[in-house]
Symmetry: C2
Subunit: 208 residues, 2 copies
Amino acid sequence: MDKTQHTELKILEAARLVFHQKGFNGARMQEIADLAGINKALLHYYFRNKESLFEKVFNETFCQMASKMSEIFLSEMTLMSKIGIFVNFYLNFISRHSYVVQFIINALHDKPEQLREVILKQNLVPELLLEQIRKQLKEEMGLDIDPLHVYVNILGLVVFPVLAKPLIQSMFKVSDERMETFFEQRKKIVPTFIENALKGYEKDKSLV
Amino acid sequence: MDKTQHTELKILEAARLVFHQKGFNGARMQEIADLAGINKALLHYYFRNKESLFEKVFNETFCQMASKMSEIFLSEMTLMSKIGIFVNFYLNFISRHSYVVQFIINALHDKPEQLREVILKQNLVPELLLEQIRKQLKEEMGLDIDPLHVYVNILGLVVFPVLAKPLIQSMFKVSDERMETFFEQRKKIVPTFIENALKGYEKDKSLV
DNA sequence: TATGAGTTTAACCGAATGGTCAAAATTACG
DNA sequence: CGTAATTTTGACCATTCGGTTAAACTCATA
């Protein structure tokens, strides 16, 4: 059937918008129904309840993020190229989907378990990603650093400014326009920052 | 009267706990009342409504964070010493108050305006902080980098891992104990990472 | 001890919200 | 076309939740 798929898609799209912006607690089933242009009862006809609808949206969103991350970091390039591409891609992606990261972090904060089943169901193997980074750190830069720290550093430099955007803006009176150039600048600054940092480790390898 | 202050403090303490962990939407006035060991009506006797109670908690929490940041970065030390101390202090503080950052970010996401009045009321001048960093970058390291980028980088490296703790743990199957040593390691890794990165810029000052 | 302001409580209210149900509309199909 | 299955709707329900009210209790003080 075509029509039922169409409504289901419309519901999911509406749910995505509302859940991303307001989170589980802030979202209203009525608002999702309205946005999808349907009756609230129909919402429950397609998705048993709020939880299951939220779960669908969460899985979908998380997979989208995670698969792109894997794709980049498991590809055939130098580590520094990957980092450059990653930073660039995510700063673009996130500015168009600014709620996504906060959505994921909040969802996981409330229900940390829900991630493992997604990972299993989607055959994601995050450990491979770390192993790949470790290998490239060693082979390309002669570094014996814990890849998790490096990975978390990269994510932090990219993701945090997006999360903290409202904080930064109202704290330092940054206009929307200047904020946009700020993010644009980071596409260059962050990769250089990371490269400098990693190259600095080569000289003294003492620290873990 | 002593008794009234006592109840007010008990309320604020309870409200802090609940709001920090569950946010505005997730928090229930009843739960706060229970935790404070009082009647729900008494809650509204001391604080007009949920919003005003939340605002109190938010202001208090934010000021606590911000004032310590200012204190460190406006003190008389080299920039690198400040960074070391900052990283150390916040990794300790945050691990004991793990919800605080997420609480602030979420609150600001929902109501970005509420920050400015806090800043004004508390006489915080965030611009001074940036100016100080700019000056020290220039004088101590010969760098002409936008201090906002540097500041955001520092925050990102410290704060993001805390926000993403549940993500990291379930994604890479990290045990609670290993997570604790992970944060402990960062007290050394992050300052070195930043120092390396900044020193790397000295060689080619081309980038913004 | 009587008074009155300040404090605390139990009971209650109205609106919002997630969810249900039975009937109506639409579609699939023999 | 007729009938059964699927899809959609409006009305409705139970519960939760923020907030109110009026009465009761506490306690300082005159």
